[in-house]
Symmetry: C2
Subunit: 211 residues, 2 copies
DNA sequence: TCAAAAGTGTTAATAGTACACCCATGA
DNA sequence: TCATGGGTGTACTATTAACACTTTTGA
């Protein structure tokens, strides 16, 4: 039917860089690669595209398999297509990054898949080109956070400004002046104060939320 | 050898959005699709990834086949993976955009492939999801031009500031104040005045070049 | 002489950066 | 009472935006 018959076909995988914010640090979810090549090495969460799903849905499916989460902020990062990137067979990988609230994710699934959170500033060596992917994704988030309310995906529903600042600092890798930060936030219309108070500090801190 | 055997394989294509600057307008190179499905429809320049080449090299090869050009500014845009995006067979496409100097490109090849330049603001309907790709690429260039000297890829070696401004206006889709523009440019260290003069205007205009 | 494009500065508004002290409270 | 984190304002600097007239010269 089509003129494509003479062209080769490839395995197409999806790798997900799942970011979470935990203990005041930006983390990435990894696990141990469950098959050869690279069995047992640190690896991003991934899988293969199936015939009945788009690449985007494949990414969503994989995210759900590993975290139990649906409806998550997820963006395509890039396709990785070096010939030898996977030493076993030729695999072209489309990479996504997702931002999740670590409180929501399914720890039972985490046990099954032996996933763990690692600090984005202390990434172990991952298999293949996965470290490159993480670096690129981190850079991308840094760009996005300046203009988009992406923190809403990483934080609990109610949060203090201190926590929000810690998140920004940990994404950007810099320290931010408290007063400047709070002024900037107060100008954003997608973050609003509530009349709730967090009592885990002595004085208590106003809780904020995303609209 | 590997655990991948049970997964499906896919055709992987590359589509190139080749931008050029011509007659004071930003243009995209298209041609008529040479095979079914969509035979004869307007289409981006594309081809299929081969087994012995990375996806990046595939894009370079295709660019060279259609323009004769090497060593061109080229960036990956995204992967497009909807199941039905190609009505013939399942094809996952990795999309690149390139910026070329239209004076350098091989018009003999243009004849062979029946390529033509179309104004980015007057794109005809392209096959499949190609219009989406162009829109996304255009947006991306607009972001990049603010910080990177990407104009060097689109302009001749020597150019007037008026031409450069026209290029910026046509990429950004806005008009720019002449004095503000010239001041901003004079602060960039990658653009410098030469002592050459363009005599096609009455008064004559200083020619500039990229370092 | 005049049409057409080249060239040139100043001011106002906005955004970003640097910086230090008082407050409320639980232990 | 004091240690802890919460909360606040001002001055300086850099960047961006708005705005109009003179110059040169080929036709």
């Amino acid at each position: 039917m089509t003129a494509y018959k003479s062209y080769p076909k490839f395995y197409v995988s999806v790798d997900c860089i799942i970011f979470g914010f935990k203990d005041g640090r930006l983390k990435v979810l990894i696990h141990q690669r469950p098959y050869e090549p690279g069995l047992g090495e640190h690896s991003l969460i991934g899988g293969f595209v199936q015939t009945n799903e788009s690449v985007d849905s494949s990414a969503k499916r994989i995210l759900k398999e590993f975290t139990g989460l649906d409806n998550v902020y997820m963006q395509q990062l890039a396709a990785y297509g070096e010939v030898e990137r996977d030493p076993g067979e030729r695999v072209i990988s489309v990479v996504y990054y997702a931002l999740i609230n670590v409180d929501n994710y399914d720890t039972h699934l985490a046990d099954i898949h032996k996933t763990q959170w690692v600090d984005v500033d202390q990434m172990p060596t991952l298999c293949f080109d996965h470290n490159d992917m993480v670096q690129k994704a981190r850079h991308m988030i840094g760009e996005n956070i300046k203009n988009q309310p992406i923190g809403s995906n990483l934080l609990p529903r109610y949060f203090t400004l201190s926590l929000l600042q810690t998140l920004y600092e940990s994404i950007l890798g810099t320290s931010i002046d408290k007063r400047n930060f709070r002024r900037a936030i107060s100008e954003k219309d997608y973050i609003q104060a509530t009349n709730l108070v967090d009592r885990s500090s002595r004085r208590g801190a106003t809780l904020y939320r995303f609209k």
